[in-house]
Amino acid sequence: MEELEEMDLKDWFASRQKRKEIQEVIKQPLTTDEYCALWKQCFQCRELLYTRDLRTNLDVCPKCDYHFRVGALDRIEQLADEGSFDELDADMRSSDPLTFFDTEAYVKRQDEATRKSGLREAVLTGLCRIDGHEAALGCMDFGHFGGSMGSVVGEKVTRLTEAALERNSPLIVVSSSGGARMQEGILSLMQMAKTSSALKSFADSGNLYISILTEPTFGGVTASFAMLGDFIIAEPGARIGFAGRRVIEQTIRQKLPADFQTAEYLLKHGHVDMVVSRNKLKETLARLIAFHKPAPKVAAEKKVSGEPSAAGRT
């Protein structure tokens, strides 16, 4: 996947489409690897699922509704209108401000992460349309470096927020993260403040921000931009929290409830507005965006009275 770094996102989608078509044409006996690629077992109900069916169902188990993790590219495909996604800051990459080394150098770990995920960083950001509505969309990818937030994730989310503000577009961020990226030390921590500060200006502008929490979202991401949405939506079964389950168990020395930190638990405890199934997510976003859209100018002009702007929108 080395060449992927030189490819832009649209090429990637195109080539994947091509690969899909080729797969459908060639019918030959399967190798074990191919068999494994074609079938996937549900983590929850253990059902054996045909990979293509699973994809068609947006990576949701049709039997038990288990929501598989979704990468940033697939997520964009699921949410953005076809061909509408225009990526921002595609080339931005981490540097190594601390020349960090644990059992391996940070730069080496970055390369590994890219090889594994096919992505340059743990978030993809861009402008797109959702059911025809313009929107600024950021999607995190847990598959890249555990979705951890370093300088690049912070900067890209901040720039996306600024881009949305500039265009008076709604902002939508799909989070999935293990937390801050330790390898960038204090600079990672500061990304929490940087993104939140940008969101303060965005909130003051009166534009709409919808945060979507997906399996898993923890630490510095939850404790900053992910919890600051005008609406906060969680995917079914997603685990979301500040501290990890094990850390808490070690601290309080008692067992936690089985559903602790699940989306449903959060809903019960008032943290999120709603839990929405993945196959309803796009239409829900579209509905919320439409609901909060200022009335078009023509409607305002149609008003009989010459009084200034109405306090409400019809």
Binding site: S95, M182, G185, I186, L187, L189, K194, G219, G220, A243
Partner: protein
């Protein structure tokens, strides 16, 4: 000062110094009977002084961490009562909890009136439990937020003292949405139109520290530390070992000097030799001078300027290509 200053308890890396001091003390007792030992004592004193200098000028990151966590280190209440003996404490989030880990105050320092908040670790065991060892619950952050809004309403500058291992990782803390409490503080503190000065006085632990750290000027005491995760947490995740705390301290660049070099803070405040716990008064005085100087500068800005100054500062943080 509210707390009685006791003889400083030596840290592990200070053991050679402590042994030398003990020997000197023993020698001193024999001095009246054996005046010829005077020369030995003088030599020992020289040795002690040079060891002390070399020890404190070559501190490893983990040594700074030990000083930052020293049980006798001055805490938020010590600073408040040194600076303004008549300081007024403000309690509660108005919604069910008064979190002992977060102290709220009205302070007047050198004629500057301000709203102050600070994490508090607690000195006695009972006190520590009341303060939850300096780890705030969501309600502690919401108490701070209430006071930030109060400050903003009445055009009073804000001072935040940071000394916390981090936000409390507990069951009810999660249930009451620790993430949201921190996130909201980050957002709201970014937006206030009064000057905000923060000082890390001991441990600056992760998001729990940052939640009262979105300031126009950030100061750190010389031996304090500030990090994205506790070094213990970092060691256990990256090295999968509890023995690598020193390595984690080193790798994360968490000392005041290193963080100044990274451009995240504005000033390192010197401490008395060996650390603030050797001399509360001097530590408090040094910190006070810096706070007053920074506040005085910031008070010259308009509300819009002071907010922009803060947001611009945080906008710049990050390293990428």
């Amino acid at each position: 000062m509210a707390t009685v200053e006791k003889k400083p308890i030596p840290l592990e890396f200070e053991q050679p110094l402590a042994i030398l001091a003990q020997n000197m003390e023993a020698l001193e007792k024999q001095l009246s009977d054996n005046p010829e030992l005077e020369g030995d004592l003088e030599r020992m004193q020289d040795q002690y002084n040079s060891l002390k200098r070399s020890l404190y000028s070559n501190l490893r990151p983990i040594d700074h961490l030990a000083i930052a966590r020293h049980p006798q280190r001055p805490y938020t209440r010590d600073y408040f009562s040194t600076w303004d003996p008549g300081w007024v404490e403000l309690h509660g989030d108005r919604k069910g909890v008064d979190d002992g880990a977060m102290v709220g105050a009205l302070l007047e320092i050198d004629g500057i009136k301000m709203v102050a908040v600070g994490t508090q670790k607690g000195r006695t065991l009972r006190d520590k439990q009341h303060c939850n060892f300096g780890m705030p619950q969501p309600e502690g952050y919401r108490k701070a937020l209430r006071l930030f809004h109060h400050a903003n309403k009445f055009h009073l500058p804000i001072l935040c003292l940071i000394d916390t291992p981090g936000a409390y990782p507990g069951l009810t803390a999660e249930e009451h949405n620790q993430s949201q409490a921190i996130a909201e503080n980050l957002m709201e503190l970014a937006g206030v139109t009064v000057p905000v000065v923060a000082a890390v006085t001991g441990e600056g632990g992760s998001g729990g520290a940052l939640a009262i750290g979105v300031a126009n000027r950030i100061l750190m005491l010389e031996h304090s530390v500030y990090s994205v995760i506790t070094p213990e947490g970092c060691a256990s995740i990256l090295w999968r070992s509890n023995d690598k705390v020193s390595e984690a301290c080193q790798a994360m660049k968490m000392t005041a000097k290193e963080i100044l070099q990274l451009g995240v803070i504005d000033q390192v405040i010197s401490e008395p030799l060996g650390g603030a716990h050797h001399d509360y008064q001097t530590a408090a005085e040094n910190l006070k001078k810096a706070i007053v100087a920074q506040m005085t500068e910031l008070l010259k800005l308009t509300p819009e300027q002071v907010r922009k100054d803060r947001q611009d500062k945080f906008r710049r943080f990050g390293s990428f290509r």
